[in-house]
C-alpha cells in the first residue's frame, strides 16, 4: 500500500482545519444586527467600556464549513458501533430532537407564571411518573444534572435523614473497589470517608466482608447494580437487609439500569435511592460530553429530604414547589431552575415511543447482545467471569499475554477497523480490562461483523504482529497523540502568535 502526501495535507474527505482564531478575517460578520446607536455611558456604573479583545470575525459560510469539517473528525453512534462499556451508547431517536424543539417547549422561561407553563410541568410530572413506576420507588428528585450529580443528591438525602435522626456521626461510606470514580468523589463532597469493600472471585460483593465492615458509623453502601463487571449482584437482597440492619442506607448507582428496565423493579431489591442516567438508559444524546440528567429515585425513608424544586398536584393544576412546604424537609437545591428540562422532553419521547413492552424488550435485547458477544468471543479473548453477563461483557488481557500487544494497542487497532473501542482499563479489578456494551441498538449483522474483526485481531496479535498494533491507528485524522507532552506543558488555549 503506497501512501501519497497531498500538497494540502488533506486526505480526500479528511480536510485539515485551522482554529477559528487562525481563520478570522476582520470586517467579516456571521450575524447581521441593527445599529445600536451610541452607548449610554451614564448607566455603566463606572465600569469602562470594553475595547476589542481579539475574538475572530467570520462570515456564516466560513463558520458552517468549519464546524462541518470538525464534525467529520468525530466518531458517533450515528457513525457506527460504539461498544463503550458503562456508557450505554444507544441510538438517539430524532423524534426526540424534533419535539424538544417545539416552541411551546423550547421557548419557555423557567420563571413564567405557572399557569402559563402547565404543559411543561406535565412533561416533568409525566417523566417522574414513569421513572417511579419503572423502579417501584415512591419519589424522585428530578433536578440533578448528570449521574455524578445524582449520586451526590442521593447522598445528601441520606446524610440529611441521618442528621434528622440524630445520627450525624455516621460518616463512613462503603464502596466496592470496582465502583466508578464518581462514587468516592461524590461521597467526599458530602463530608464522608470512603471504605473500600472487596469482591469475591465471581465478581460480586463479598457479603461476609461487607458485614464485617458494618458498624454504627456507616452511613450507606454505594453499589452499582448490575455492577461494573456487567454482573447482577445476586445476593443484593441479603446485602440490603444487612445494610438496613446496621441502620445504614443503600445507595444504588443506576448507570447500568439499561440492563434491567422492565425486568426488575429496584424497589424490590431493598434500595433507598438510585440515580438514573437519562443520557444512557433513556437515549438522550451524550453530545460529546453532556448535557446529561440524573434524576434520583428515593424510598419513603428519604423522600421528604428531596431537594427543591419538585412538582405536585395542586388545586389549580400542577404546582412547582420552589421553597419551604409543610411536611417537606428538602436538603436544599442542587442547581439552578427546574432540572434538565430539554433532556426530560427527549427522555419522555423515547419512553412514550418504547412503552412498557418496548422498554422490557430493549433491556432483554441489550442483555442478549452482550451475552452473544461474550459467547462468540470467549474462546479467543479471556472472559473475566463466567456467564451469563448482563448488558456488558468484560474481558481482561490474559489473551494478549506475551504478544507484546496491550489493551490500549488492541483498542487502537479496532479504530482502524472502523469501530469505536470498548472501555479500556475499567473496571480496575481486572487486569487490562476490555469492557464491551453493545446495547439493544445493534443488529445481529453488526455484531457478527464486529466479532469477525475482533477474532481476526486476536489471531493477529497472537501471531506476533505487535508492531502493527503499536502503530495503530493509521487511518484517522490524527494518530496516537502525546498525552505526556499535553500534561507536562499544558497548552489549554490559543494565544496570538503562539502557534506552529
Amino acid at each position: 500500500m503506497s501512501e501519497t502526501n497531498s500538497i494540502s495535507g488533506n486526505k480526500g474527505l479528511q480536510i485539515e482545519e485551522k482554529l477559528i482564531f487562525e481563520l478570522g478575517n476582520p470586517g467579516c460578520i456571521g450575524v447581521d444586527l441593527p445599529e445600536p446607536g451610541p452607548v449610554d455611558l451614564d448607566r455603566m456604573g463606572g465600569v469602562r467600556k470594553r475595547e476589542p479583545f481579539g475574538l475572530p470575525d467570520l462570515s456564516e459560510p466560513q463558520v458552517v464549513r468549519h464546524y462541518t469539517r470538525l464534525s467529520q473528525k468525530n466518531y458517533g453512534i450515528d457513525t457506527g458501533f460504539y461498544p463503550l462499556g458503562s456508557c450505554t451508547m444507544k441510538h438517539n431517536p430524532r423524534l426526540s430532537e424534533k419535539v424538544a424543539r417545539l416552541p411551546g417547549l423550547a421557548d419557555l422561561h423557567p420563571f413564567q407564571p405557572q399557569k402559563t407553563v402547565q404543559g411543561a410541568l406535565e412533561v416533568i410530572d409525566g417523566l417522574a411518573h414513569w421513572l417511579k413506576e419503572l423502579t417501584g420507588m415512591p419519589a424522585v428528585a428530578m433536578s440533578p444534572a448528570a449521574g455524578a450529580h445524582g449520586e451526590w443528591c442521593g447522598l445528601m438525602a441520606i446524610r440529611s435523614a441521618h442528621e434528622d435522626k440524630g445520627e450525624g456521626h455516621r460518616r463512613r461510606v462503603l464502596v466496592p473497589e470496582s465502583a466508578h470514580g464518581t462514587n468516592p468523589a461524590s461521597a467526599a463532597m458530602c463530608g464522608y470517608t470512603v471504605d473500600p469493600i472487596p469482591a469475591k472471585d465471581n465478581g460480586r460483593v463479598d457479603l461476609d466482608a461487607l458485614k464485617a465492615k458494618l458498624g454504627p458509623d456507616v452511613a450507606c453502601l454505594m453499589l452499582t447494580n448490575p455492577n461494573t463487571c456487567g454482573l447482577f449482584e445476586s445476593e443484593i437482597i441479603e446485602i440490603a437487609k444487612a445494610i438496613h440492619g446496621a441502620g445504614a442506607y443503600f445507595y444504588c448507582d443506576g448507570a447500568n439500569f439499561n440492563a434491567i428496565v422492565g425486568r426488575v423493579k429496584v424497589a424490590d431489591l431493598g434500595i433507598d435511592c438510585m440515580h438514573i442516567n437519562l443520557h444512557k438508559t433513556f437515549s438522550t444524546p451524550h453530545g460529546g460530553g453532556g448535557p446529561g440528567a440524573g434524576p434520583t429515585v428515593l424510598s419513603d425513608a428519604l423522600a421528604d429530604y428531596a431537594p427543591v424544586p419538585y412538582v405536585v398536584h395542586g388545586k389549580n393544576g400542577l404546582e412547582l414547589v420552589e421553597g419551604p412546604r409543610e411536611g417537606a424537609k428538602p436538603f436544599g437545591r442542587v442547581k439552578g431552575y427546574h432540572g434538565q428540562f430539554g433532556v426530560f422532553v427527549r427522555a419522555l419521547a423515547y419512553i412514550l415511543s418504547m412503552g412498557s413492552d418496548g422498554l422490557r424488550q430493549a433491556s432483554s435485547d441489550a442483555v442478549l447482545n452482550a451475552n452473544y458477544l461474550q459467547a462468540r468471543l470467549s474462546d479467543v479473548l479471556s472472559a473475566s467471569f463466567e456467564g451469563p453477563c448482563m448488558h456488558e461483557a468484560l474481558f481482561d488481557d490474559r489473551f494478549l499475554k506475551d504478544s507484546g500487544v496491550t489493551t490500549l494497542d488492541f483498542a487502537k487497532a479496532l479504530i482502524d477497523e472502523g469501530y469505536h473501542p470498548m472501555t479500556m482499563y475499567f473496571p480496575l479489578v481486572v487486569h487490562g480490562a476490555l469492557l464491551m456494551e453493545p446495547t439493544e441498538t445493534e443488529s445481529k449483522d453488526t455484531l457478527d461483523q464486529f466479532i469477525a474483526v475482533v477474532r481476526g485481531l486476536a489471531a493477529k496479535a497472537k501471531a506476533g504482529a505487535a508492531e502493527e498494533f503499536k502503530s495503530a491507528p493509521r487511518n484517522t485524522p490524527r494518530r496516537r497523540l502525546d498525552e505526556t507532552l499535553a500534561a507536562r506543558t499544558p497548552v489549554l488555549r490559543w494565544k496570538a502568535g503562539s502557534n506552529q
Binding site: L19, F21, I29, G30, P36, D40, M44, G45, V47, R50, G54, L55, P56, L58, V63, L70, K73, N74, I77, T79, P93, A100, L102, L105, L108, H109, G119, T182, M189, R263, D268, L269, G288, G289, F331, R333, G336, Y337, H338, F341, M354, G355, S356, Q361, L368, N371, Y372, P388, I415, H420, F426, S443, R479, R480, L481, E483, A486, V491, L492, R493
Partner: protein, 449 residues
C-alpha cells in the same frame, strides 16, 4: 419496534449460540422474588405520529415566549439564535459522540473544546477556562470549593447581588463540609458593604456582575481588598453577552470567573440544560474542577488535541478529586462556541450594545408609568423596578400574564419573606424586544399599577 433491529429469528439464533433456552435464562442471577415476568402495566409502544401528537398537546398548554411581549430575565435570557447554529448542532458526529476518551476519533469535539476554552478565557479576561460545568449555579458552588482549597480557608462570603438559586446551590454544596457560606441580604439598590467584611478567615467573596437586580459595579477596589486579605475574588456573570460591553472581570482583578452560558446559543428550554463556564488564573489551573482539552502533537508531529491534566479528576483521583463531575455540558459548549464564532468580535460587541440600548429604551418608556421607579443606577439589559409601596409585583405579573404579556419576574418569587421586596419587579430587555412590545408592556402596567 423502530429502535430495535433484532428480529425473533435473530434472537433464536443468538440464544442457540449462547446455549441459553430463552432470554429469561440470562437473568438467572436476579433473585427470583424480584423478577418481573411480563411488561409492567403501563402504556404500550407508540408510533412517531402518536408521540408527536402527545407533545404537541403539552406544548399547546404553554404560553411560549415568542407569542408574547416578553421581559423575563433573572438568569435566563431570550436571545436570537442564528439558524445555522442548530443545523450544525444536529450533526450526528457531534450529537451522538461520547466524551472524547479516544482522541484519534474525537478530534472534532476536542478542537471545539479547545476553541471554547479559548473563547471563554478571552471574554472573561482570564488565562484559562475548563471544558464546562453543568450550569452557572453549580459552577458557582465549585468556585467556592476551589477557593477554599486554594486559600486553605473555610469562609465563603456570598454577596446579596447573587442570583438566589446560585446562593442556595452554593449553600447546599457546603452544607455537610468544613466550609461555611455567609449570605448577605438581597441588595436591590447596590448598597451592601462587602469591603468591610473581608478578613483573614475569608477564602473568597462571590459577587455577581451585573447583579441579580441588574446593578453593575466596578470591582477593582473589592479585588484589591480581597487580595490584601489573602482571599480570592470570584465574579459570577449570569448574562455573558454583557461581557461584550463592560470591561472584563479579569481586568478588574477577579481570580475565578464563573458564568451561566445559556444566553449564547442555547435558548431557554424552561431553564435547562444550562452551561457552566469556569475560568481562572494559570497558577490555579491544577486546582480547577472539570475537564480540560489541551494541545499536543501526534506521532507524525501534527498538531492535535487531547483531554489533559486528568489527575485532578474523579476517574483517577477518586475521593481526592477536585470535583465529582464527569458528564458536563459538551453539546451546550458547542452551541455557545458556534454562536460566539458567528458573532465574532464585532458582533459580540454590537449585540451587547444593542441589549444595553434596549434596556435604556425600556427605562425611558417606563418613566411614563406613575409611581414606578428603576432601582439600580447602572445596568446592562436588566433592572429591578419598584412599582409603589402598595403594589404587589406578583399580582401584577399574574394580571399581565392574563393579558398575554410575560412581564418580568416578581422578586417575591425568590424572597417571599421580605415584605419590602413585594413591590419589586425584575425586567429584562434584549435584542428580541420590539418597540411595540415595550409599548404594550407600558400600557398594561399603566392599567394595573
Amino acid at each position: 419496534m423502530r429502535y430495535l433491529p433484532l428480529t425473533d429469528s435473530d434472537r433464536r439464533a443468538m440464544l442457540a449460540d449462547i446455549g441459553a433456552k430463552d432470554v429469561d435464562a440470562l437473568f438467572k442471577d436476579v433473585p427470583a422474588a424480584a423478577r418481573l415476568t411480563e411488561a409492567l402495566p403501563l402504556p404500550r409502544h407508540q408510533g412517531e405520529l402518536e408521540v408527536e401528537r402527545a407533545f404537541t398537546r403539552m406544548a399547546g398548554k404553554n404560553l411560549s415566549a415568542g407569542c408574547a411581549p416578553f421581559f423575563i430575565g433573572a438568569g435566563v435570557y431570550r436571545h436570537h439564535i442564528p439558524a445555522a447554529l442548530d443545523q450544525l448542532l444536529m450533526r450526528g458526529e457531534f450529537l451522538t459522540a461520547y466524551t472524547p476518551y479516544q482522541p484519534e476519533v474525537s478530534q472534532g469535539t476536542l478542537q471545539v473544546l479547545f476553541e471554547f476554552q479559548t473563547q471563554v478565557a478571552m471574554i472573561t479576561g482570564m488565562d484559562v477556562a475548563n471544558a464546562s460545568m453543568y450550569d452557572g449555579a453549580t459552577a458557582c458552588a465549585e468556585a467556592a470549593v476551589m477557593a477554599c482549597r486554594v486559600t486553605k480557608r473555610n469562609k465563603v462570603l456570598l454577596s446579596g447581588s447573587l442570583h438566589p438559586h446560585y446562593a442556595e446551590t452554593t449553600e447546599t454544596s457546603l452544607r455537610y463540609t468544613e466550609m461555611e457560606a455567609e449570605l448577605l441580604p438581597p441588595d436591590p439598590l447596590g448598597f451592601e458593604d462587602l469591603l468591610g467584611r473581608v478578613d483573614s478567615q475569608t477564602a473568597c467573596v462571590i459577587v455577581q456582575n451585573p447583579g441579580f437586580f441588574g446593578g453593575v459595579r466596578d470591582l477593582r477596589s473589592l479585588a484589591a481588598i480581597c487580595h490584601e486579605a489573602g482571599a480570592l475574588l470570584v465574579v459570577l456573570v449570569a448574562e455573558p453577552t454583557s461581557l461584550g460591553l463592560f470591561e472584563s472581570p479579569g481586568a478588574m482583578g477577579a481570580d475565578i470567573v464563573v458564568c451561566e452560558g445559556q444566553s449564547l446559543g442555547m435558548g431557554m428550554n424552561f431553564g435547562g440544560p444550562g452551561l457552566g463556564l469556569f475560568a481562572t488564573r494559570d497558577k490555579f489551573v491544577r486546582q480547577m474542577p472539570g475537564r480540560l482539552a489541551g494541545q499536543t502533537v501526534d506521532v507524525d508531529g501534527k498538531r492535535g488535541w487531547v483531554l489533559t491534566l486528568s489527575t485532578r479528576e474523579q476517574h483517577i483521583r477518586r475521593e481526592k478529586a477536585t470535583s465529582n463531575i464527569c458528564t458536563n455540558s459538551g453539546l451546550c459548549a458547542l452551541a455557545f462556541s458556534i454562536h460566539l464564532t458567528l458573532l465574532g468580535g464585532t458582533g459580540f460587541a454590537k449585540l451587547a450594545e444593542l441589549n444595553h440600548a434596549k434596556a435604556v429604551q425600556l427605562e425611558q418608556k417606563l418613566s411614563k408609568v406613575k409611581g414606578l421607579r428603576v432601582l439600580p443606577q447602572s445596568y446592562y439589559n436588566e433592572f429591578a423596578v419598584h412599582l409603589g409601596d402598595e403594589v404587589k409585583a406578583a399580582e401584577v405579573v399574574d394580571a399581565l400574564a392574563d393579558k398575554g404579556i410575560l412581564a418580568g419576574v416578581a422578586a417575591s418569587r425568590f424572597y417571599p419573606t421580605w415584605p419590602e421586596l413585594a413591590p419589586v419587579l425584575i425586567l429584562a430587555a434584549t435584542e428580541t424586544n420590539t418597540e411595540d412590545d415595550m409599548d404594550r408592556l407600558v400600557a398594561a402596567l399603566k392599567e394595573v399599577v
